[in-house]
């Protein structure tokens, strides 16, 4: 299925900043390179999370192994090895969750639904925009494509000072689109938006229920079924009217297609995992990634988190995997493991990781994740993402890419939360790029060094702790 690339220029013409009075990127674009950029490139920080991690040994293969898809961007990334998050371990709760909560916060979780501290992007946001972001902008944009849902730390990766989620997760491309383009609220009233999102989920579940009674498994007879079908039609009408886009403009951006994969409750049947094809997964993710990137390009958001597959994700993936025209692997998790349910999920490859073995399936999964993360990063690296200073959005922003663990075998917490993959962008020349570096430091110190580099005085981690700066990452 071909993905309709959303034409940024067409969008700029229509939904145009004229309604919100923001400086147009377009203007910045057309100004000649010779003109010294008096306008500062905005400070941006995003957390990109991918689930299940890359076992530390696989990170040592440079770009020949699972990191191959990052190669085209290698000169814009700093890949950091041997970053450990052991301090994030909480006894009794599994490391997937702890590691996930620790990603970007460097603290152990504070309960089921809270992090242990703010995430990097939020700390930077507070410092650089103490009075809030320009009106009409989404203060923090949180999106993702994922399934495993027990405990929000698995799939939300942006947290406030008070350890609550920094924004509502937009898990369907349409939701994200609506959040960015459909419900621009000049007063920046975030709670209204949140409530609307929650109401939406209520309505979604109601629709699911009615759909069931009109479907093939319905216990109803013909007459009753048609009655319910009528009711469902009315609900759809209601949906349209209640949640229609505010801006009705003939050139208005087209609503992205409906999500085809599972969401909400059915997406996580109690941890038993879902069946999904590579095509379905990447189609949805790329649509999400495109929209998120678009939101950044149009300067509708400068902070937030994007998640590709949750921490401890459970999917049974099928489909042929090709990269650069070569077939790398055929995904068929359940059959290849000769198991069903949760035992047949790709998650199990991580449990079975053995340095001495080939780990082909795991490698293929990790490689694929890197490919999809790279897809998003590339969206911010094209010619249509060049900013006033001649650099791309990717180069100018601080994008932190991380995950929940450095090993998946659950038999050694130290190992599990050590060597957690990290990669960052240069943030407009603040940090080194084009290297794979053996950092050998705690995540909290790495993050605090990043904060220092971003001119942020606040620090993550325990209040009294003295930061050990990791100067090697500074440019």
């Amino acid at each position: 299925m071909t993905i309709q690339k959303i034409k940024r220029r067409t969008l700029l013409k229509s939904v145009g900043a004229s309604t919100i009075g923001l400086p147009l990127l377009e203007e910045m674009l057309t100004s000649k390179a010779s003109a010294a950029p008096t306008k500062a490139v905005p400070v941006r920080a995003f957390n990109v999370f991918f689930g299940l991690g890359i076992p530390a040994p696989l990170q040592t293969e440079g770009f020949e192994g699972v990191l191959e898809p990052l190669k085209p961007l290698s000169d814009k990334l700093l890949i950091m090895r041997n970053v450990d998050q052991v301090r994030c371990d909480e006894k009794g709760i599994n490391a997937h969750y702890d590691g996930a909560s620790g990603a970007f916060t460097a603290e152990p979780p504070n309960g089921e639904a809270r992090s242990g501290g703010p995430s990097i992007d939020q700390v930077i946001r507070k410092t650089h925009y103490p009075k809030g972001l320009p009106p009409g902008m989404v203060p923090t944009l949180v999106g993702g494509t994922f399934f495993r849902r027990s405990r929000i730390g698995r799939y939300v990766h942006s947290y406030n000072q008070d350890c609550t989620v920094a924004a509502t997760m937009q898990e369907k491309p349409r939701d994200l689109f609506d959040r960015v383009f459909g419900s621009i609220s000049l007063t920046g009233d975030a709670t209204d938006v949140r409530r609307k999102r929650l109401k939406r989920s209520v309505l979604d579940s109601v629709v699911d229920d009615y759909k069931y009674y009109t479907g093939v498994n319905s216990p109803l007879g013909a007459a009753s079924k048609s009655r319910v079908a009528d009711h469902l039609d009315r609900i759809r009408e209601f949906e349209q009217r209640a949640y229609a886009l505010k801006e009705k403009n003939p050139n208005a951006p087209k609503l992205p297609p409906r999500s085809q994969i599972l969401h909400g409750g059915p997406a996580d049947p109690g941890g038993m995992g879902v069946d999904i094809t590579l095509n379905e997964l990447t189609t949805e993710w790329r649509l999400m990634a495109d929209l998120y990137a678009l939101a950044i390009q149009m300067d509708r958001t400068r902070f937030g988190a994007l998640t590709f597959l949750a921490a401890g994700e459970r999917i049974r993936l099928t489909g042929d995997y090709e990269y650069n025209g070569k077939k790398i692997w055929q995904f068929d998790d359940a059959r290849q493991q000769n198991a069903s349910g949760d035992k047949g999920c790709s998650h199990e490859w991580w449990h079975k990781f053995n340095e001495k073995k080939k780990n082909e399936a795991l490698r293929a999964h990790a490689h694929m994740k890197m490919r999809e993360v790279a897809y998003f990063l590339q969206r911010l690296n094209g010619t249509d993402s060049k900013e006033a200073n001649g650099r791309t959005i990717l180069e100018n922003s601080l994008i932190t890419i991380s995950t929940e663990s450095g090993d998946g075998r659950h038999n050694n917490v130290k190992r599990e939360l050590s060597g957690v993959f990290h990669a960052i962008t240069g943030a407009n020349g603040r940090f080194k790029t084009g290297e794979i570096m053996d950092v050998g430091a705690e995540g909290v110190d790495v993050y605090n060094t990043m904060l220092e580099g971003m001119d942020v005085k606040e620090r993550l981690g325990p209040a009294k702790r003295k930061t050990n700066m990791v100067d090697s990452i500074r440019a």
């Binding site: 089921e112 849902r149 999102r197 579940s205 109601v206 007879g221 009655r227 319910v228 209601f238």
Partner: protein, 887 residues
């Protein structure tokens, strides 16, 4: 099979079942009868030869078994001897058994057998519902010297392990009555020869039974667990027989066998009757009886009564049974001469008549009542019942304790009347406004709830998680809110809301809020969802479905905790328990409210709000009077039905009423104290009974139209049928003048040949009310000075001659004592209870209900009890799907 032949087969089975019911008791001698309640499949092995073992239960589609290797067995006088390994299995999955057991969560497997030896193991499969040696729903087997029963439930394996075993040395090579039961509460028992030999807890629900397993005797489907021995009888029930019932079946022995499938002749007779009652009778009613019923009798031919029809008219016999060619009726129909007006019969309908006469002109009901055929089967179809506004209000109040009456009545679109009631299911559709308002009301309701307190009833934890605790909580709360257990899909959907709330930084309270909001808009809340899929026959309704039917019929609201408990424990399978519950429920004030709602709808009391009498004609009118009239009728009903527990028929002529001083004055009674007070009417002969109350008398409008009043009595009280006036007729009421009273005007209409046919049927009914004006006040003369009378005639539907009455009191007495009126009240109450108009297929059942109710005194309570205990409520007509129907 084509649809018609499939329907035919279905009817055949239904009829043979009916025949079984009627024939069975007669065929028994002094021997003990077998217990049959809950029977799903029955094999008696009295074929004597052949490879097919017929299912004699008469329930649903028969599940016949086939012997795979005929050489392995021998027939010996009612016994099947299995000498070597073979399989005796059904060709299709045992759907009816699986579905029934899943619903009732209990079962009995019964067998009269004689093992060939006490060494066979495996266990050797005696009776099994399974797929192979590791996948089963239930298997009764022999493991050497013991009997071993494996049962699949949500807490045993898919192989039914751990099994229930008898003690050792009990499996002997002698004829043994082996019975396995598991009740809805999870206790499994094995009885041998009437004595309990094993008891074990087999917990969990049987809801995980596989619907694709076949029934097999004497082996596994895979052929690797043979059992050798004698089969005398095998039966499967969808309930756990009690110890006494098992003793009864043990005493009944194997010699007592139910009759074989009815003979060809009796089947043919039953079919002919069915054809007459559902095809011929409606045709006669719609096309012939206008002119050829007992009273109109054109050409002296009365086609409404069997004897009269067969006797013929002035042209002699019109029907010669078996010879359509010699039947005048057929000639007239064939040539199109009859019916003389209106639409002639279609070719199909004509053929039906011919076939019917040729097949012997079987006439199985004494009187053809056109009222029975007014509604065709489409309206009797199983339409999903949406909660009416009052049911919605009561459901919210009962489940979450919030009073949403004001907002619900203000905001929701009103429920419209159809066929005389506003709870008629096919008319309760949903528009955009409904969806919008249900969403809004859900929000308001949750705002008013103490959400944490409510949640606390179902779970101690207040943690926002999506683990098992949350799922368990959702299942418990959902079961209460949605009137029955949730399945996994539903639990998953609602827990998805919890995660979304978590993903938005919400807390437990918020999550519960939104889940409740979702549940309040769920189809399971807004509608009374029931299983309607099956094999096309009538199935017993599920226990929670029955609980809801009972509570909505009796209370107009959801089941209370006690009823839910009884449903969950499987108690509602037992008629005596159901009776007790009905009695308990009738004592609740909600039963009174519901009955008053029925009255309000039947008599359309809502009309009173909108009365606008001409102030010139009625200068003393005020709106209060209309409200008082409504109160009068409700209080009157309340006293008859609830305070005095009198027969419903007394509503027509009881000599008292309730009135405010204002209303009393209006009626010409001496006003007593303030407020609504009881007035004894024994000395006011003209008044007493519903028809003499303002709420009914105002039906005719300012001019007290005899047509309107008469039609009300005809339709609402007598259940009569009359055609609409022909088009193009000026039906403006003719005003009275000096010398021309309304009665005279009516008599003129009746004298007119083109009007009398229909008007004779209803206008004289209103003659007895002539002295009551358009607002129900009593006068001897009308405003023009015309002398008013109150004598007249009443032609009861189906009667040959009208009955005369001399006064309105006499009219009321005639009505009260009329079996026709009593039946009509039963029909009305039943219609309101079911939420649909009654159709021809219901006629027999309603008749039984009416008789049972009359036996109980003809009171509202006895009627409601009879309705709830009848098959109209206990059973549900199923529709087939491709996957359910097996030929």
């Amino acid at each position: 099979m084509t649809t018609t032949s499939r329907r035919f087969v279905r009817r055949k089975r239904v009829l043979s079942f009916l025949l079984l019911i009627f024939v069975l008791p007669g065929s028994l001698n002094a021997a003990v009868p077998r217990v049959v309640r809950g029977l799903q499949a029955l094999y008696t092995f009295d074929s004597e030869h052949g490879t097919t073992i017929r299912d004699q239960s008469g329930v649903g589609q028969p599940l016949d078994l086939k012997i795979e290797k005929p050489a392995a067995v021998q027939w010996e006088g009612g016994v099947l001897v299995v000498g070597s390994s073979t399989k005796i299995l059904s060709s299709a999955p045992a759907r009816k058994i699986v579905n029934a057991v899943k619903r009732t969560n209990s079962l009995t497997v019964e067998a009269w057998i004689k093992p060939a030896n006490d060494r066979q193991k495996g266990p050797a499969r005696i009776v099994s519902l399974s797929a192979n040696s590791s996948q089963r729903n239930v298997t009764l087997g022999q493991e050497g010297k013991r009997y071993d029963v494996r049962l699949r439930s949500t807490s045993t394996s898919t192989n039914g392990i751990p099994s229930t075993l008898t003690p050792n040395n009990l499996a002997k090579t002698a004829l043994t009555h082996v019975v396995f039961t598991r009740d809805a509460l999870g206790t499994a028992r094995i009885y041998l020869n009437g004595k309990q030999q094993a008891s074990q807890k087999v917990a969990g629900k049987l809801s995980n039974w596989d619907k694709d397993f076949r029934l097999i005797l004497s082996n596994e489907i895979t052929g690797d667990r043979p059992w050798l021995g004698e089969f005398h009888l095998v039966a499967i029930f969808s309930r756990a027989l009690t110890a006494n019932e098992i003793k009864q079946n043990f005493q009944a022995g194997t010699a007592v066998k139910p009759n074989n499938a009815p003979s060809k002749e009796s089947l043919a007779a039953a079919t002919a009757r069915h054809v007459f009652e559902t095809r011929i009778a409606p045709l006669l009613a719609r096309n012939c009886l206008d002119c050829h019923d007992s009273s109109s009798k054109k050409g002296q031919l009365d086609l409404s009564r069997k004897a009269a029809a067969l006797a013929g008219g002035e042209s002699g016999k019109v029907i010669v049974p078996g010879k359509a060619g010699e039947s005048l009726l057929w000639e007239q129909i064939k040539s199109g001469e009859m019916p003389p007006e209106g639409q002639s019969l279609t070719n199909q309908e004509k053929t039906l008549f011919r076939q019917w006469i040729d097949n012997g002109a079987v006439w199985s009901i004494d009187l053809i009542d056109p009222a029975v055929y007014v509604h065709d089967s489409r309206e009797g179809a199983a339409w999903l019942q949406r909660l009416t506004i009052s049911e919605y209000i009561e459901t919210v109040r009962s489940t979450v304790g919030v009073d949403i009456a004001k907002e619900a009545r203000e905001l929701l679109p009103p429920d419209l009347r159809a066929d005389g009631f506003s709870n008629t299911a096919y008319n309760l559709n949903v528009d955009l406004k409904h969806v919008e308002i249900y969403a809004r009301l859900a929000e308001i309701i949750v705002d008013r709830m103490d959400v944490l307190k409510f949640a606390g009833r179902f779970s101690k934890s207040q943690k926002l998680s999506t683990d098992d605790t949350m799922r368990q909580f959702i299942a418990e709360m959902g079961k209460w809110l949605l009137r029955g257990p949730l399945d996994d899909r539903e639990v998953t959907t609602y827990s998805g809301i919890a995660t979304t709330v978590a993903g938005a930084g919400g807390n437990y309270q918020e999550a519960v809020r939104f889940m409740i909001e979702a549940m309040l808009q769920s189809p399971r809340f807004i509608y009374r969802i029931e299983n309607q899929r099956g094999d096309g026959t009538a199935w017993p309704v599920g226990e929670y479905e029955l609980a809801s039917r009972m509570s909505y019929i009796i209370w107009g609201g959801p089941p209370d905790q006690e009823l839910m408990r009884a449903a969950g424990a499987g108690e509602l399978q037992d008629r005596t328990v159901v009776k007790k519950q009905i009695q308990r429920m009738l004592k609740d004030p909600r039963a009174v409210d519901r009955s008053l709602m029925f009255l309000s709808e039947w008599l359309n009391l809502g009309r009173l709000r909108n009365l606008r009498p001409d102030p010139k004609k009625f200068p003393n009118w005020n709106e209060e009077l209309a409200l008082d009239m409504r109160q009068e009728t409700l209080a009157f009903f309340n006293e008859i039905v609830w305070k005095q527990n009198r027969p419903l028929a007394d509503l027509l002529h009881a000599q008292f009423t309730y009135a405010t001083p204002q209303l009393a004055a209006h009626y010409g009674l001496k006003p007593k104290g303030p407020g609504l007070v009881r007035y004894d009417l024994s000395s006011v002969p003209a008044r007493g009974g519903l028809l003499t109350q303002g709420s009914i008398l105002t039906i005719g409008g300012d001019e007290a139209s005899m047509v309107t009043r008469g039609l009300f009595i005809l339709h609402g009280v007598l259940r009569g049928v009359v055609k609409d006036p022909p088009p193009g007729l000026d039906i403006t009421p003719v005003p009275s003048m000096p010398g021309l009273s309304q009665r005279r005007i009516a008599e003129q209409r009746i004298a007119n040949v083109s009007c009398s046919g229909c008007h004779l049927k209803f206008e004289p009914l209103a003659f007895g009310l002539e002295k009551f004006d358009g607002l129900g006040a009593f006068h001897e003369r009308d405003e023009h000075g015309n002398q008013l009378r109150d004598d007249g005639e009443i032609l009861f539907p189906g009667a040959a001659k009208p009955l005369a009455y001399q006064s309105s009191a006499a009219l009321m007495n005639l009505l009260a004592e009329s079996p026709r009126v009593q039946e009509s009240i039963t029909w009305k109450v039943a219609q309101f209870a079911l939420g649909r108009p009654l159709v021809a297929a219901d006629a027999r059942l309603i008749d039984q209900i009416h008789k049972a109710a009359q036996k109980g005194g003809g009171t509202y309570s006895s009627l409601i009890t009879a309705i709830v205990l009848s098959d109209l409520v206990q059973m549900t007509r199923t529709e087939t799907t491709k996957s359910e129907a097996y030929e």
